[in-house]
Amino acid sequence: MANKDIGFKVRKGTVHAIVGENGAGKSTLMKILYGVQRPDEGTISIDGHEVHLHSPSDAIAEGIGMVFQHFQLADNFTVLENVVLGAEKLHGIGEGARAEIRRISDDYGLDIEPDALVADLGVGARQRIEILKVLYRGAKIIILDEPTAVLVPQEVDELFDNLRELKSEGLTVLFISHKLDEVLSVADSITVIRRGTTVDTVDPSSVNARQLAELMVGAELPTPQTEESTVTDRVVLRIEDIVLSGAGDSRNVLDGISLTIHAGEVLGIAGVEGNGQAELVEVIMGMREPTSGLVFLGDTDISDWRTREIREAGVAYIPEDRQRHALLLEAPLWENRILGHQTEEPNVRGFIINAAGAKADTERIVKEYDVRTPSINVKAGSLSGGNQQKLIVGREMSHQPKVLVAAHPTRGVDVGAQSSIWDIIRQARRDGLAVLLISADLEELIGLSDTIEVILRGRLTGTFDPDTVTAEDLGAAMTGAAGSAEETR
């Protein structure tokens, strides 16, 4: 049972936030509100009358619109085409629709040009298109699922301005998040859910972030806090002048990236998504051949090595998209423990899979890393995001790694899992690993890194000291607002 006894009221014309750990039942609640899933018991009422939502189209008919965390836009379509897709009957697909989009954009200050190509637009604009899409379909209640996860601080502020605009026009906004500062700044009312139950509904003026977090977790709040420096002068991972050319004539995806990570050092990379972080990781992991440049592990040139050799040599890898790159969702946990280490003990004996060894070690990982599962034989897809990630982290730390490449290691995981993953990264640092940490969570970067590099359009544009830098400074550097490279060291 994902949800039981959820109950809250949302006033018209307000921003109402719902906070809770991942796995607390937020997504299930959203699915119920949007008609994707039907509740076993209980009712939903809008304007005092009870509604029955059997499908998203019912929800839309009742004026409920949903903006998903992952945008559902076709890149090669214009804004207009994306907006009318599936709603062709409302205002046609031509002038009528264009005029309507302009009207909505002006009314709510969304600043959307109907004929722009989505591929040319940034993340913030894409999110506003998603909002416009639901307004276009006549939504009076808008649900936003973790809308700030993909935005830099400046874009978050813009989004919040938009939300206030919507509110002042009499629309109701349901805002799902686990970033508490943001929730406190934008919401008129906050409902906390934990383990599928509403814990409390509070007024943001009467609580601070810590109290809110404690309501959410039911315990103390963890913070990412680095300890004393453990950085040594032994270079473990060195990247020299990596260039990766883009498709066709477009600019280079990676343009002369050089990095050095020492034993005991966490190097953080900050950047707006899509500025080359993913490609950099793929180059290091041997999944992508760079146009030029070298990668060294210690003194060994591993530029020509393939992924398997690189992993065998002690590079642990936490991919950014765990469902696509780190797990076989339809395979049991113990087979997932083998994945990525198909050639290593205790998973294999020669060319034969050692199922007994892998199972025993999976039991150990489940215990040591607190993976919540009834058994190691359930499919990985049945676990919550945080538990999936703990399994992955446990697996990667089980082969005496020298380097840890962690891309968004705590994305979409609950506060409890987040804190244990931070602990593991800190422990790795103490154990003398070289850690490359890529994250969109600036707090996390500042809290864990020894050095932060900012990546913008495939170039490293600035080095920051996490002790002195603020999230706003990083945000400015990430969007290029700060101009040229900025040294604060």
Partner: protein, 372 residues
């Protein structure tokens, strides 16, 4: 693969049984509509086969089994080798031409012929593999094309090497020497005909298939690629190499399909050699869920329907082709049923995990964030 549980077994058997029931109903409806004698048709098909027919069923299933395993190898990594038909034609022709030369004595000739057939089948499949990894051409398209090309090439080569058989206008390769012909095994009492000796080959192939797929590193990589190519790449699997290896393995196995027929029945490859075996294999692999025992059951069912339908014309006055309707509906129904059951399984397990975790939580309410 994972631990045995009654729930899994039930789910595994439910879909094929459901498909059989649906096929029974749909076929009955069609027969009724056309005014054919429904009862007689089912009486004929469902009667217990005579010993001679049992042998035919086993023999047919042997060939189907090899074909389906060849297809299943590809299926396990989401590689759709539709070209098993062409690969087995090329292979059996090459094998028959080689065996007919009788360069080697008796059993050695058999063994080497099998190797030649596997190489030929693997070679034909490697063309599609090359096109896929180098040119990005879908193996579905290329193998279908290669089937057509295989038919032409084999016919053309057959004309070159053919020997004219006396008193017949069919042409074929030179018959294999008697010392290399396999007379068969008398497994079924009361039957005058015999089971193909190379049923042993099918059993061996099945066992090897199970072992390699489920127990070896190669098999793990193959299944991982089938389940999620992106995760396989990130785990270090060289996917292009896997495509080539698997495609060639599939083709080499396809090369075995014609061997029981060649050594146990036809003794040469000619224009009358059984066709369409590769396509039947696709359906049988689907029905058998790519599982070595599942495929065996599916192959036996297919062959059973084939053999039992022979008597339809005489006993029920209905064309034996009605069996194609039954087979087709079974496949349709089973594909749908498998998907429905797969989804139900995923949902049930998610609910079960959530329930069991909720139960343990209330026993020991330790907050997980307390470590910091």
């Amino acid at each position: 693969m994972s631990t045995f549980s009654p729930r899994k077994l039930l789910l595994a058997v439910a879909a094929p049984l459901l498909a059989l029931v649906v096929a029974f109903l749909v076929t009955s409806a069609i027969l009724l509509l056309l005014g054919d004698p429904v009862v007689e048709v089912w009486q004929t098909i469902l009667s217990w086969p005579k010993p001679r027919q049992l042998v035919q069923i086993v023999n047919g299933a042997t060939v189907y089994y090899l074909s389906a395993v060849a297809v299943a190898v590809g299926f396990r990594m989401n590689l759709f080798n539709i070209g098993v038909d062409g690969q087995y034609r090329v292979a059996v022709f090459a094998g028959a031409a080689f065996a007919g030369q009788a360069w080697f004595p008796g059993p050695l000739n058999v063994l080497l012929t099998i190797v030649v057939a596997m190489v030929a089948g693997g070679f034909w499949a490697s063309i599609a593999a090359y096109l896929k990894i180098r040119r990005g051409i879908s193996e579905v398209i290329s193998t279908i094309m290669l089937n057509a090309i295989a038919t032409g090439v084999v016919q053309w080569l057959l004309l070159k090497v053919a020997v004219k058989q006396q008193g017949s206008n069919t042409i074929s390769t030179k018959p294999i020497p008697e010392s290399s012909q396999l007379s068969g095994l008398g497994l079924i009492p009361g039957a005058t005909n015999k089971v193909y000796t190379l049923i042993l080959l099918a059993v061996l192939v099945g066992a090897l298939y199970w072992f390699v797929i489920n127990k070896t590193r190669f098999g793990f990589d193959l299944r991982a690629t089938g389940r999620s190519e992106s995760a396989a790449i990130a785990s270090g699997v060289k996917v292009p190499r896997m495509i080539v290896t698997t495609m060639i393995a599939s083709g080499a196995l396809a090369g075995l399909i014609g061997m029981p027929l060649l050594f146990g029945q036809d003794h040469s490859y000619g224009t009358t050699f059984q066709a369409g075996l590769g396509f039947a294999g696709i359906g049988i692999a689907l029905l058998g869920r790519n599982h070595p025992l599942g495929i065996a059951a599916a192959a036996l069912l297919w062959s059973f329907l084939d053999v039992q339908s022979n008597a339809l014309q005489i006993r029920a006055g209905v064309a034996s082709e009605v069996v194609f309707i039954i087979q087709g509906v079974i496949l349709f129904a089973v594909v749908i049923a498998y998907e429905l059951i797969r989804r139900a399984d995923v949902r049930l397990e998610q609910q079960r995990v959530a329930r069991e975790l909720a139960a343990t939580r209330s026993d020991a309410p330790t907050p997980e964030g307390a470590t910091a």
